[in-house]
């Protein structure tokens, strides 16, 4: 690997000051260090941000503020998170393994890179890694790549489970940059590939993620992930959903999909159709199908369309009997 310097920042200001163009912030390193070994990432400097004072989960405006340095295991085990945001705890526990969750941070989880085979192999073209070199995945191996929002430039998927739950929670990311601190709604944080897949997010160079703000939910929620083995595998498709039902009608509903696009895919069309609709399997199926009309499956990933459809219906059906906010 390329020689690099390692420095541990004592404050956010120091971290920002240490960041030059050739720098990566280092969280748990569970993805970044792998990518450095593969030569995919070749930073000249690592700035360790795990000792910054962002390692707490705090009450904030009726919701929570989750520090970027909080370990994934601690987030999933947090009593408040489990009671009020089961979708988030379930999503985190559905990711990786116990050992990796102990090491990985919330900020790093947000910023992990796609597991597309071509992206991870520096001897092959990839527009995300090497802009303009091409996308062999489109015609090559893509059975677990995108069906929604992809472009000829990139068919990668975002690998995070946690981010899918955060999408459904309307979370926003707290970012420290050159011009101070700002909040970025998750919808605006992640990008679709467009013609510049090298950028996963809208962050500017040097921006430091300091935390995630999660507003109050007030609905039952859950996360369901489908993968090729019982644990420790990336999603083929996952669904995060929150549902509020009264008198047999859907009062409110949020759905996000993982494993289908370059970012967590908020199923806005399905949500709109469901608000006010009868809380029945028929409604859920109609909405899921409407959402999937936008899908453009590739040669070998067409199975994700019925899989996502079924998973939306199943997850909403399982949520429906619960009372709002009972945390089950």
């Amino acid at each position: 690997m390329r020689p690099f310097t390692y420095e541990r920042a004592r404050s956010a200001d120091e971290a920002l000051a240490l960041h030059d163009g050739d720098t990566h912030y280092l969280g748990g390193g569970t993805n970044l260090v792998d990518l450095m070994r593969l030569g995919v990432e070749r930073p000249a400097r690592l700035v360790d941000v795990t000792r910054l004072p962002y390692d707490r989960i705090e009450e904030h405006g009726g919701g929570l503020l989750i520090g970027a340095a909080v370990r994934n295991s601690d987030l999933a085990a947090d009593r408040t998170v489990r009671e009020r945001y089961p979708v988030l705890a379930e999503a985190v526990l559905a990711g990786a393994s116990g050992q990796i969750r102990n090491q990985a941070t919330v900020g790093g989880n947000l910023l992990q890179r796609t597991r597309c085979s071509y992206f991870q192999n520096v001897t092959k073209p990839c527009n995300k890694r090497d802009p303009g070199s091409g996308c062999p995945a489109r015609e090559g191996e893509h059975h677990n790549l995108a069906i929604l929002g992809h472009t000829p430039h990139c068919v990668a998927t975002h690998p995070s489970d946690m981010a899918v739950a955060l999408a459904v929670l309307d979370a926003s990311v707290r970012v420290r940059g050159g011009s101070g601190e700002r909040g970025v709604r998750l919808d605006e944080f992640y990008r679709l590939p467009g013609d510049d897949p090298s950028r996963d997010t809208t962050l500017d160079p040097g921006d430091l993620v300091t935390g995630i703000q999660v507003p109050p939910l007030g609905m039952a929620s859950r996360y369901r992930k489908v993968r090729e083995r019982a644990s420790f595998a990336f999603a083929l498709v996952s669904v995060a959903a929150a549902l509020d039902v009264a008198d047999g009608k859907v009062l409110d509903c949020r759905v996000a999909l993982g494993g289908v696009a370059h970012r967590p895919w908020r199923a806005r069309r399905a949500e709109e159709m469901l608000r006010g609709a009868p809380a029945t399997e028929e409604s859920y199926l109609r909405a899921a199908r409407a959402e999937m009309e936008a899908a453009q499956p590739l040669r070998d990933n067409g199975f994700k369309v019925p899989l996502a459809t079924n998973l939306i219906v199943r997850t909403l059906s399982e949520l429906a009997p619960s009372k709002p906010g009972d945390g089950s």
Binding site: M1, R2, P3, R37, L38, G39, S97, R115, S117, Q120, N121, V122, T123, K124, P136, E139, G140, E141, H143, V226, R227, E228, R229, A230, S231, F232, A233, F234, L236, D300, N301, G302, F303, P306, L307, N310, L311, V313, R314
Partner: protein
């Protein structure tokens, strides 16, 4: 014998057990291999000077400067002897540096110029030219006349061995010759091969391999790591350490060929087979011929007067295929046992009853009597324990449930070996043999075999293995280890005991034996282990996820030497069978010509959450025609047939017949 805990368990748990490149050596340099980035062609240039200028880089080795090596019968070991690139990912150069990090960076920067040619890596049906292994009777006519017939094609993908410890070698030259700490399945073979490659007296080569972190066949033949490390150490005149990366293990260390198997069965109205035809298409690299004998088990499993077993090897620009977890039997029993299930379903006969009806009196291959064959007993015992009778496909909410069965078999072979047994005046014994324990429990089993022959407590017996200075021994492979080494150990101990009628002198008493003659004169029998797998599956209707809550393997493998480690081996094999059934798959990149999977995140094997109630048991099988211990090998039979049992259970649960492994949601969901 009474069960014995793994004798090196404490060393392994505490980290005292050292693996190949973990040995502390003063001043060791590090070697990193460089892989070809074209699928076929010639190396035109190697820009060594650029990386030699990097601080800490000691040497660059390639076809441009490598010393001439002697050829052996595996061209994969002709490291840097040619400019030809035979497949993408082939070992084409190496960098030696002061640190591993420098070596890796230099290897990444090393520019190699190629003249690329169009590669072909796509295994497909279409070419003619089967090589028939068995042709008995007139199978085509028998199929045409059969009351019921099955004609289906079953496929398996390429599968990579992926032992936890990568292929690794620490090499050091001194006045006594070459010493390597190497991760392999047989130190004698590695010694003899290195001696030949480097033109040395075998006595000048020492291969030390007391602990090996798995091999699954991929370390059965000496690998290029050993040759490259020895070459590099000689070049830089220092000890060197070399381990292939996980990424390199998908191209440089062997794997199982994908298979395309057409299986045809013909049966009369009672389900008695008249014809079995098993025709297999497989791939071969252009560097090394290797036949996966996939149709092999169809030679002996069931009675049928008309039979044809054939293989066709398609030569492609792919990495070299090799041994992998029950080569032949494992993919072959997937095809045959799936077809048997299809025949049972078609005829409305219980799958166990169908197998019992086709039980052969003698080996269908050559008419030899069985030394013992207890397939039927395994099927009946398993059916009883598993609750097979009255099995019903079920539904619980959005989950479908079902049960499946399949037979297992593995041949019983022995290789000639030598061993030394020694008695000391203090009552201790030492047994020496260059056997290999690749995690199987071989050291422990040999301790028990020695103790029994010596009529001594196992605590008084020390077994020394894993070193080519010990009496020469065969490989840990083909499920032959315990039977082959055990024969030599048993004979040496028995001969020693016969000499211990007087007090043991201070210098001790030592006996060495060779089992070559005993093996050559053994009676002619068809010797095979048998077994049966029972599987329950749960299939999610909405997602196509298949989970296996319960799996039982019943085996008839002669006398089990050490129940503790035997159970581990058998459930380990069954777990590999689960992986083969549900997740293991290497995907060829047709555009670039290599396998896309590059790590264990992209090549799935079962994790603990996949392995639920999984149990292996065995019958008390007494077979006097095997070896002094009465044992059959158990290293591989645990995986054989397991994938078919899973697929048969999936069919029982869902009515969907999956004929292409693995059974992933992407394959199953569209049919649900």
């Amino acid at each position: 014998m009474r069960p014995l805990e793994r004798v090196e368990a404490r060393d392994k748990v505490t980290g005292a057990a050292r693996y190949a490149i973990e040995y502390p050596v003063e001043g060791a340099a590090h070697v990193v291999a460089v892989a070809a980035t074209i699928g076929r062609g010639e190396i035109e240039s190697v820009a060594a000077a650029e990386v030699l200028a990097m601080p800490g880089v000691l040497a660059v080795l390639s076809c441009e400067n490598a010393p001439k090596l002697n050829s052996v019968d595996d061209a994969e070991l002709e490291v840097f002897q040619s400019r030809t690139v035979s497949y993408r990912g082939q070992l084409v150069a190496a960098v030696v540096a002061e640190t591993l990090e420098t070596a890796r960076e230099a290897a990444a920067r090393l520019r190699i110029g190629y003249r690329a040619e169009q590669h072909d890596v796509h295994l497909r049906d279409g070419q003619s030219g089967f090589r028939a292994d068995v042709d008995q009777g007139d199978p085509e006519a028998a199929l045409a006349e059969a009351a019921v017939s099955i004609d289906e094609t079953y496929t398996t993908p390429a599968e990579h061995n992926n032992p936890m410890e990568p292929h690794a070698t620490l090499a050091e030259w001194n006045e006594d010759g070459l010493t390597v700490h190497d991760s392999n399945q047989g130190s004698t073979t590695v010694r003899d091969t290195l001696a030949k490659v480097f033109d040395l007296d075998p006595a000048k080569v020492r291969v030390i391999s007391p602990h090996v972190g798995g091999g699954f066949g991929s370390k059965g033949t000496p690998r290029p790591t050993a040759v490259l490390a020895a070459m590099a150490a000689r070049e830089v005149k220092r000890p060197v350490k070399l381990a292939f990366t996980r990424q390199q293990m998908f191209s440089m260390t062997g794997y199982r060929t994908p298979t395309i198997q057409r299986v045809r069965l013909g049966a009369d109205a009672d389900g008695r087979l008249s014809a079995i035809v098993h025709e297999v298409i497989e791939q071969n690299s252009t560097v090394r011929e290797f036949t996966e004998k996939t149709a092999g088990p169809s030679r002996i499993m069931y009675r049928a007067p008309h039979r044809r077993m054939a293989h066709r090897l398609v030569q492609l620009d792919v990495p070299a295929t090799s041994w992998m977890r029950g080569p032949g039997e494992t993919p072959g029993m997937w095809g045959l046992e799936s077809a048997m299930d299809e025949l049972a379903v078609t005829m409305g006969i219980d799958p166990i009853e169908l197998r019992i009806r086709n039980e052969p009196e003698t080996s269908p291959e050559d008419g030899l009597p069985w030394s013992s064959r207890n397939l039927v007993a395994c099927l009946r015992e398993g059916a009883e324990r598993f609750g097979w009778t009255g099995r019903r496909a079920g539904r619980e909410g959005r989950t479908l449930t079902g049960m499946g069965v399949a037979s297992a078999t593995y041949p019983v072979n022995r290789e000639p070996n030598t061993a030394t047994a020694r008695a000391e005046p203090d009552g201790r014994f030492t047994v020496r043999i260059a056997a290999a324990d690749i995690g199987t429990g071989a050291r422990t089993a040999l301790t028990l075999i020695a103790a029994e022959a010596l009529k001594a407590d196992p605590g008084r017996v020390t077994v020394e293995i894993g070193n080519s200075d010990l009496p020469k021994a065969s490989l840990a492979g083909g499920s032959t280890g315990t039977a082959s080494w055990g024969t030599a150990v048993h004979n040496a101990c028995e001969a020693l005991l016969a000499e211990l009628d007087a007090p043991i002198p201070p210098e001790g008493v030592e006996v060495t034996v060779d089992t070559k003659e005993e093996l050559e004169s053994q009676e002619k029998y068809a010797r095979h282990a048998f077994g049966a797998h029972f599987v329950e599956v749960r299939v999610d209707i909405d997602t196509g996820e298949v989970r296996v809550p319960r799996m039982l393997g019943v085996f008839a493998a002669g006398r089990i030497i050490n129940p503790t480690t035997a159970r581990s081996q058998l459930i380990g094999g069954m777990t590999m069978g689960l992986g083969m059934a549900l997740m293991e798959e290497s995907t060829m990149d047709l555009e670039f010509g290599d396998y896309l999977n590059h790590d264990l995140a992209q090549y799935h094997v079962p994790v603990c959450a996949d392995v639920r109630d999984l149990e292996a048991i065995w019958l008390d099988e007494k077979d006097p025609h095997l070896n002094p211990m009465g044992s059959k090998g158990i290293g591989e039979i645990g995986i054989v047939g397991a994938a078919a049992a899973v697929a048969n259970a999936v069919h029982h649960a869902t009515g969907v017949r999956v004929r292409d492994l693995p059974i992933t949601p992407s394959r199953l969901l569209p049919s649900l």
